[in-house]
């Protein structure tokens, strides 16, 4: 899922202050799961902003709605009526959702309420970790399904660096060494020989380094 967290309220206030009627639009999938942009967070932010603007003497009507997903037109459509009734939209979706809204509603000012952080998983309740960089050429099959591009701070492809100590990365003691995890898992799977395969320097052309990416599925286009 896409993981994000809410921007500071002061930053949000600066963006939306010029408007009289604001719609806070939540997104009920990824950012709901990471407690950043679902229905509850939308209601909480709306309440906090109403109080903050009231104290500033700014008269602003703040409305709320949450759609299932802001990255798909079918779901965005549900918000069309409310978007038309408001001067601007504060989207609590990830960056993709915010931009999908902007494409679908070209005349509506759309602002981001979250900072999109990474693609990841919920490691445990309330703990989210980055697991995929979206490099466009997945090598998880060789590395025991643990990504060295994402989980190794240095993105090393042919084994750990000398800075790994007791399974901890030298970059930050809160980071587990991705290569230690790869080796432990391959050992457990009896696939340690995978590491004899030399991995050549990665061609980053398939990643964002090659520019904005696009996937076209001709079999689904009429």
């Amino acid at each position: 899922m896409i993981v994000g967290h809410q921007k500071p309220i002061e930053e949000i206030k600066k963006m939306v202050k010029p408007y009289n009627k604001l719609l806070i639009l939540g997104c009920g999938t990824c950012v709901k799961t990471c407690f950043a942009g679902g229905e509850d967070e939308t209601a909480a932010l709306a309440s906090a902003l109403r109080m903050a603007f009231k104290m500033d003497g700014v008269a602003m009507e703040i409305n709320e709605q949450t759609v299932e997903r802001q990255c798909e037109n079918e779901f965005i459509q549900e918000a069309a009526k409310k978007i038309g009734e408001n001067d601007a939209v504060l989207s609590l979706a990830c960056g993709a959702g915010v931009q999908a809204m902007a494409k679908r509603f070209p005349k509506a000012p759309i602002y981001p309420g979250l900072n999109t952080t990474f693609m990841g998983i919920q490691e445990s309740h309330g703990v989210f970790t980055e697991e995929c960089l979206g490099c466009g050429n997945c090598g998880l099959g060789i590395f025991g399904a643990i990504c060295p591009i994402t989980r190794c701070s240095k993105k090393l492809l042919n084994g750990p660096c000398g800075g790994s100590q007791n399974g901890i990365c030298e970059v930050d003691p809160s980071i587990e060494c991705g290569w230690q995890q790869i080796i432990d898992r391959l050992k457990a799977l009896g696939q340690l020989d995978n590491l004899r395969t030399y991995i050549p320097p990665k061609n980053w052309k398939t990643s964002h380094s090659g520019g904005p990416r696009k996937l076209v599925r001709e079999d689904h286009i009429i």
């Binding site: 509850d40 209601a43 309440s47 906090a48 902003l49 109403r50 109080m51 903050a52």
Partner: protein, 131 residues
């Protein structure tokens, strides 16, 4: 707060921690009571909405540590209080207006003392600036 103004307090409580036998409202304070099956049901939205509705202070009565029927409801309530306090500080309402107290069911009189303590705090904090 000035003596002429009647303070407003919203009290969320776990039904296992506290049973309202008589009103906690007096000529100095209106206490709005919201009972819940467990204090762990308190969320940031409920607490913020209470302030938005005009409460000068909001308090959560939870079961004592280790006594939650659902094991960790009072711990969750504490975490949510801390998060909501930071939001209240961020927007300028003031996090000190939100408090949590451990209460035993038999301590009805204690509730009155807690309300009296909150009223004392409100003397310094003043009325809710967002009301």
């Amino acid at each position: 707060m000035e003596n002429t103004t009647k303070a407003k307090i919203t009290l969320f409580h776990c039904i296992n921690a506290f049973t309202e036998k008589k009103s906690l409202s007096t000529d100095r304070v209106d206490v709005k009571i919201i009972k819940m099956p467990c204090s762990g049901m308190v969320t940031e939205v409920f607490l913020l909405k209470a302030f938005e509705a005009g409460a000068d202070a909001v308090s959560i009565f939870v079961c004592p540590e280790g006594a939650c029927r659902y094991t960790e409801g009072n711990i969750r309530a504490g975490k949510r209080m801390a998060k909501t306090r930071s939001v209240l500080d961020e927007i300028g309402v003031g996090g000190k207006r939100l408090t949590m107290h451990q209460v035993k069911p038999a301590e009805g009189a204690n509730a009155e003392q807690i309300i009296a303590g909150i009223l004392e705090e409100l003397k310094a904090l003043g009325p809710n600036p967002a009301a």
